[in-house]
Amino acid sequence: MKKILMGNHAVSYGALLSRVEVIAAYPITPQTQVVEELSKMCAQGKLKARYINVESEHSAMAACIAAEQAGARTFTATSSHGLTLMHELLHWAAGARLPIVMANINRSMAPGWSIWTDQNDSLSQRDTGWLQIYCESNQEVFDSIIQAYKIAERVLLPVMVVLDAFVLSHTYEPVDIPEQELVDQFLSKLDYPYKLDVKNPCSFGSLLPPEYYLELRYKMQKAMEEAHDVIIKVDKEYQQMFGRSYGGLVEEYRTEDAELVLVASSTVASTARMVVEQLRDEGVKVGMIKMRFFRPFPTQEVVNALKGKKKVAVIDRNISYGQGGIFCEEIRSVLYNIDQHERPPVFGYIAGLGGRDITPTTIREILSHTLKEDKPKENIIWIGVKH
């Protein structure tokens, strides 16, 4: 059944249909409607879950960790300062190999105080061991929550589903909500193999001496690597059941004969489709890859899509201060080891920080600049800075 839903409610419906059992969350703009709707669903009995009110995001994640450790399917949602307050426990959730799913509404970090979108909150959680999915539509948000549980519970790592503040979170559009029965077939009840059991008490997260720590981290990285194939498989299964897929980790859009490939993520990728379409009509050989997953990083997909291309332009709605756009740096890094003749120059653009609108004009400007220049003159090419 198709419903007109705001992005935040698409998140809530995703959690509802995934039959989450425990929700612990703390409200924050622009995430509020996610938890408002979920608490309403719990109160109405539509969702048979325990909703735990907490006093901070740190506590929310702590409660999720405990609930997941007890074997319950667990959900939370947050944004920006809420996510960064969780930081310590994000490491814990991943290190303890708990398949928690969380929605993060991308919102800029203060100061200056901002409630608008950029990706610095989630990308600064890069090394916590969470998988990250960046969505471009409310439908993808909804579908990704359900997929996320299946992936997380298979590889035993937590997943963060990320959506842009306002551009998705507060935007209404049609979302196809499948029948619960169908979702139940796709996503069976969680049977977490290492759960707390009072009849067989074990200690969790206790002292791990240097003899073994390295091995556990090795296994965690292996799980991330394994996730690559699981993501693709789950996306295919999803398509078979629901008729929708997102290309697994990366979606290539009109790249087959493209000379210039744009790399984008989130809603920027959505708007960029239009621009690519227009430029193609104008005879420009341009394509796009949409970075759906940031972790695990889709190394092979990126290499395959970009090698031998004439130019690559990366749009980053984020910045790692002292270096550059985060997606751009990772893309440059995975291209480094390919044959020099096949390695395209990578133009790194930073735009749209703090919710500055990224319009078709912005994207056109980026593409024209890339077409005009042979090589990037600077590590970062800033778009829209008022000089």
Partner: protein
Amino acid sequence: MKEKDEDEIKVVIYRSEKEMPPVPMSVANTLYNKTGTWKYVQPIYQNRTPPCNAGCPAGEDIEGWLSLVGKGDFLEALQLLLSENPFPAICGRICYHPCEKACNRGKFDQPLSINSAERFLGDYGIKEGAPILTSTERKKERIAIIGSGPAGLTSAYHLANMGYYITIFEASSQLGGSLIKKYSPERLPVEVVEAEIERITKRGIKVRVGTKVGDDISLESLQREYQAILLATGDQKSKILKADKEKAVLSGLEFLEATGVKWGVKLEGGIAIVGERDIPEKEVRSTPRIMTDPMGATHEKGVFACGDITFIPRAINHEVGSGKRAAMAIDSYLKGEDIKKKLELVKVGEGESVSMRSYITGAVKWVNKVVSFDELNLDYFEEKPRFLNPEMFAEGAIIKDEIAVQEAERCFHCGVCTQCDNCYIYCPDLAISRRKDSKGYRINYDYCKGCLICVHECPRNAMSYEGVVK
């Protein structure tokens, strides 16, 4: 896991990451690791004697009834109080309350206002009509009690509660003895005395006033008719003082001769003698007395004594205590049991305080070690001055229930577990659990490694410790 398996568990050494679980968790059930073997001291979860209780010569469970007052259960509190002492309204007025001197809170801010709380509860009992505990069991033995002062009445009360047939012989025309004669009506109104005596005599006790044993009826005839006799004739001094000093002594002798109790020089065991004696309380003057054993037995078989005629300080609380001890002695005698063997069971503290409840039930509420101030964890208490004071009982003043509740809430409950959960919460080894029957906690000594955090965090020393012999 079976014990056999536990012994077989060894330290696991992984040779490769493939053997390891992906999760940082213990490889085996953690129950195998019996950390209890590490300890050289261990906590003991047991209630200990509150100092107020040990300090009450009448043997009241003060902490117990204060706890019930604190919950607003006045009727239950009163029942508990009455199970030891039939005179709360009287004691609440005239007792010199050594309990308050013993109260640990006195070293913190102000002692609990125990005496005033007792008066509140006693008056509540008179006003509301306290429940009468009638024994379902009727015994065949008959007991004569000579004298109806506080000691005699206390004995009569407890023995009647046990189911004995009681007859009180009172020489004067009125019950009460010193309660009638000794106090001004402002301090102890007659109605209060009458109400509390009536509550006792209502228990099917026969009363023969104006009957002087020796004159109107002989002791021998009583001995034929009754299986036990209790002398509770009180301090005869007021009468004797009218005579000269030498005669005063004789008067005592005459009394004893008249009653037929043998007296003389000290003999082994329980002996009745007459004479002047020094007694601990200076202000209480000595007078002719009967020597008994600590429980009130004279050397004459079947004859007991209690109250001011024995060697006790002359104060209501000591008189009640004396009457209680005699009641226990008579009951044991009639059952052919040795009261001395029960003494350790019924003693509260190291003084004269005894517990009738322990005597009746054969169970103790505490291990008999009094909790000292130093053994409390004062971090858990806030300074709070008294809510209730003796001055508040000005004529006609009504003490609100909340005041009594607030005052009772000040109680530290020294030595008595209030199930605050501190031990349960703080135990780092999860070795302390709540009992399923809600009666406190259980310590699993297999895993208690003797860190004594529970002992430290128990505000009231209901958790204490002892050494372990390995």
